[in-house]
């Protein structure tokens, strides 16, 4: 039972292969959901550098590497991994219920870079 109304059901878990990401546009917001071992993490899809699609990046541990110029962002915090590239992406709380991935798009966790 989902009591909290801010959780938006996005898609089913089988749609996102392990260690890969997929983009979805919900209410005009483009997000990328990633599948790590036992969890799903969501960040904004657009790379702050030049808009690269982060959903297509290689997952390195809990970070994703932008496919265009290789910036790395931590999927948990949204922070750029290298201090030399100060920037960040929004992260969104994500959980799974009955095989459905739910994302809370209202509480974009802003990180200060």
């Amino acid at each position: 039972m989902i009591t909290d109304t801010c959780w938006t059901p996005i898609t089913t878990v089988d749609k996102i292969p392990l260690h890969e990401g997929r983009a979805v546009t919900v209410n005009g917001i483009e997000i990328a959901i990633f599948h790590l071992e036992k969890r799903y993490l969501t960040i904004q899809n657009k790379c702050p550098h030049k808009g690269g699609p982060l959903c297509d990046g290689i997952v390195a541990g809990t970070a994703v590497v932008c496919p265009l110029h290789g910036r790395r962002f931590d999927l948990e915090t949204g922070m750029a991994v290298r201090a030399s590239e100060p920037s960040s992406v929004a992260t969104y709380p994500t959980r799974v219920e009955d095989g459905v991935i739910l994302v809370d798009l209202t509480s974009e966790d802003e990180v200060t870079a």
Binding site: T11, D14, H19, E20, A23, V24, K50, G51, A60, G61
Partner: protein, 803 residues
């Protein structure tokens, strides 16, 4: 007349001592006896041999040529059984006698076998020598139930070695704490967790009561009553100095053969060095102090005695990849006047404890982060006053440029702890001998030849001191899997590893990154000829969707157009696709084919289907294309049918992956209209023959290709192409284009190992190529059979759920 010097024991301490003697002015004729049948090898690295990271050949320290060129009589496989001190003769087991003027005992130690009932059974082993290691290697098989008795450095390294061979390993340790001589309880707990994370079971504190089984081992019973199944048992319960000879000769012997500060035993003509010795009540188990003993002994025996041996508190480092442990000095903080400073981060698995006494470093334990290890070594050795550094003792200041930090070290700073090589020695050697590579440095100074942990420091020092420093080609792939590409190739092949994840879990940091994952994907594909588990998430996006990503996130599509030859029908379909999908740009590429740029990921499958052409692989590290000229068909100068040969060449090699992109060209005469001599592989037509050329480039580098061979027929030319192609696939480092590959290996070597190789080697190369080719397929067929449901499909958000 020369004096006879006899050395009993051909191990690390004995031979190192002889090396020191050779450096002094001496008047000895030297004979070395060793009961192992091998030349002196690096015992420390046996763990890496067990784990498949090094071969037996790679750990040899002194090859047979060294003994010969130094005129050392070497008797291998011969055990000395008796010393007659009054006649000054040693006898070997067969009774053969050798006279000596001076005698050095360097008999080392043996594995201690605790008196447990059943230890004599088959498949119960110790781990001390190369022969032990070979026996273990023969038995270690995936799934074999293995128990290691002893959770010290040796036991853990043995456990890890066997585990990477696929054995199911349990470590049984008598004490509450693993490596209790080097770690405190907390450090031991961290270590235990790390070892367990690797997939090794750890039982402690547990005493083994008995080993059971009928002749061979079936299992062991613990004192607690629990029974463990075991097909193989390794005992690593400590070492005992080999003192029998000394005792028999009537020398002063306690736990070890007692020596004074000049390594002399109670008989002034008999010296001892290494693990068999006892000095001021202390025995030894690590090489650093033993090499120091060797230096002292060498000076004393050659009549130039300098300062004596003062004992040592050596530092210990565990050699298990990903389990970083460093310990030096004292570990017990209950001692009066000792203060402990600690840091712990359980989720990072980092634990540090620093013991201070009189504001000086007294001991250090580092788990999980040992980067500052040499700083602590320096503080310990030099007794630096740390009053002003108190706030930083757990995180010593690091220089921004590590090269500068090394350059700033005092000359007396020990760089290689094992071999006692100081910074000053290295700098002097570099200048004196014009050393520019790490290998040369190793050969000259012996630095970094033992446990290898100072390699990084030596390299930094070289880099800082010599302007001409040459990087070795064997650099590691990336910090996630700290092995060279060549080593990884051997590891994956040797350990039969079939997935990227497995390589990262066993040999890496379990994460991987955009550098190592694609490289490992390539290695697996090449080594297993495509018969492995392909992990798409380890590939760059281009290889997941078989198209080249563009700056706006769309993709470009270049269909295969073999030899640059097309048909009106194909062109019509291309035009229709361009219209239907409103392709923003259609372009003729520099490789004689047509590019459709700006296609959405979701449209890729239907674009491919509508084109009805195979993938041109323009997005991957793989076979790109064969550019051809019109050749004999139409050209008035053409002497070979370059178009037909080019199309055939492309068919033979298409759909295969390569270390870097691979481009080819075939031309009908030396006018070279399709630029075959600046391609990775080219065929240049001549009257009655083909020249096969390799390693050409006209991109970032421009390089004229080298001639591999000249052959008569097209079939011969194509076979030469196959040979070079597969050889490059197997031997190049990932992301090494053929122009660098050809420079690195030299064309002579490439010729010898391809077109001029023995018939069976050629056959083997061609067979492996054929196997890979049989598994290779046109990637665009995945448009109709995707590997997962959302490979191309854009996910649509669900309708808000009806509650």
């Amino acid at each position: 007349m020369k004096q006879q010097l006899v050395v009993v024991g051909n191990g690390m301490a004995g031979v190192s001592c002889v090396e020191q003697i050779l450096k002094q002015a001496h008047n000895f004729e030297i004979t070395i006896f060793g009961d192992e049948t091998h030349v002196n090898y690096n015992r420390i690295l046996l763990s890496l041999v067990l784990a498949g990271e090094k071969s037996a050949d790679e750990i040899v320290l002194n090859d047979i040529g060294w003994y010969q060129s130094n005129h050392i009589r070497t008797r291998l496989g011969v055990k000395i059984a008796k010393i007659d001190r009054f006649e000054k003769v040693v006898f070997n087991e067969d009774g053969g006698a050798t006279e000596y003027d001076k005698l050095i005992l360097a008999t080392g130690s043996s594995a201690f076998i605790p008196p447990i009932p059943g230890v004599e059974k088959k498949n119960v082993h110790v781990f001390r020598t190369l022969d032990d290691t070979r026996e273990l290697l023969e038995k270690a098989k995936p799934g074999l139930k293995t128990v290691v008795i002893g959770g010290g450095l040796l036991g853990l390294e043995a456990a890890r070695g066997l585990q990477v061979r696929g054995c199911e390993v349990t470590v049984v340790h008598l004490m509450e704490t693993l490596m209790e001589r080097q770690l405190d309880a907390t450090g031991g707990e961290y270590l235990k967790r790390k070892i367990e994370n690797l997939g090794i079971r750890v039982l402690l504190p547990q005493q083994t009561a008995a080993l059971f089984g009928n002749g061979h081992i079936d299992g062991l019973r613990l004192a607690s009553g629990e029974e463990l199944e075991a097909d193989l048992v390794v005992i690593a319960a400590g070492i005992r100095p080999n003192v029998e000879l000394g005792r028999q000769a009537g020398l002063d012997v306690r736990r070890g053969i007692v020596v004074n500060d000049f390594m002399q035993t109670s008989d002034p003509d008999i010296f001892a060095v290494g693990e068999c010795t006892e000095h001021r009540g202390q025995t030894f188990g690590l090489v650093a102090p033993l090499f120091e003993q060797g230096r002292v002994l060498a000076s004393a025996i050659t009549g130039n005695p300098g300062p004596g041996f003062a004992g040592a508190a050596p530092a210990t480092k565990l050699k298990i990849m990903g389990v970083d442990i460093f310990s030096a000095g004292a570990i017990d903080e209950s001692e009066a006047g000792v203060e402990a400073v600690r840091y712990e981060d359980p989720s990072l698995g980092v634990y540090k404890k620093i013991l201070l006494k009189d504001n000086k470093l007294h001991g250090v334990i580092l788990v999980g982060d040992i980067e500052d290890e040499h700083v602590y070594q320096d503080w310990l050795r030099s007794g630096t006053d740390l009053t002003l550094l108190r706030r930083q003792v757990l995180f010593p200041p690091r220089d921004a440029d590590p090269g500068l930090a090394v350059a700033a070290l005092p000359d007396s700073e020990t760089i290689c702890g094992c071999n006692g090589v100081r910074k000053g020695d290295i700098v002097q050697a570099i200048h004196k001998h014009g050393i520019v590579t790490l290998q040369q440095l190793k050969e000259r100074t012996r630095a970094s030849t033992s446990c290898g942990t100072c390699t990084g420091l030596c390299e930094k020092l070289l880099r800082a001191v010599t302007p001409d420093f040459q990087e070795e080609t064997k650099t590691t792939l990336c910090s996630c899997v700290p092995f060279s590409f060549e080593q990884l190739r051997d590891i994956i092949r040797g350990q039969q590893i079939k997935s990227v994840e497995e390589v990262l879990n066993v040999y890496g940091n379990r994460k991987g990154c955009e550098v190592c994952k694609p490289a490992l994907s390539y290695l697996l594909d090449m080594l297993w000829c495509g018969e492995h588990e392909e992990d798409r998430s380890a590939r760059f996006i281009n290889d997941r969707v078989h198209a080249n990503i563009q700056k706006d996130g769309t993709f470009s599509v270049i269909p295969r157009m073999r030899g640059g030859v097309t048909t009106p029908d194909e062109l019509r379909r291309i035009a229709d696709v361009a219209d239907k999908y409103k392709v923003p740009m259609v372009k003729v590429t520099g490789s004689q084919r047509i590019d459709l740029l700006g296609i959405k990921k979701a449209d890729l499958p239907s674009v491919w289907a509508d084109l009805g052409m195979p993938s041109g692989q323009a997005y991957t590290k793989g076979v790109r294309m064969v550019k051809t000229c019109v050749g004999t068909e139409f050209c008035r100068f053409g002497v070979q049918d370059s178009t037909r040969a080019g199309i055939e060449l492309e068919r033979r090699l298409e759909n295969l992956f390569t270390p870097h992109k691979f481009k080819m060209g075939v031309v009908g005469c030396p006018r070279n209209c399709a630029e075959a001599t600046v391609k990775d592989l080219g065929l240049v037509g001549q009257d009655g023959s083909w020249q096969v050329v390799v390693g050409g480039a006209a991109g970032k580098s421009v390089r004229k290709a080298d001639l591999l061979i000249t052959v008569e027929t097209t079939e011969q030319a194509l076979e030469a192409c196959d040979l070079f192609f597969q050889y490059y696939r197997e031997n190049a480092i990932y992301l090494e284009r053929t122009y660098d590959f050809a420079e690195r290996l030299g064309i002579e070597k490439i010729r010898k190992e391809t077109v001029y190789a023995a018939e069976e080697e050629k056959r083997a190369l061609l067979d492996r190529l054929a196997r890979s080719k049989a598994m290779a397929k046109d990637a665009w067929t995945e448009g109709q059979n995707p590997v997962n449901p959302t490979q191309f499909v854009q996910i649509q958000p669900m309708e808000a759920r009806v509650s």
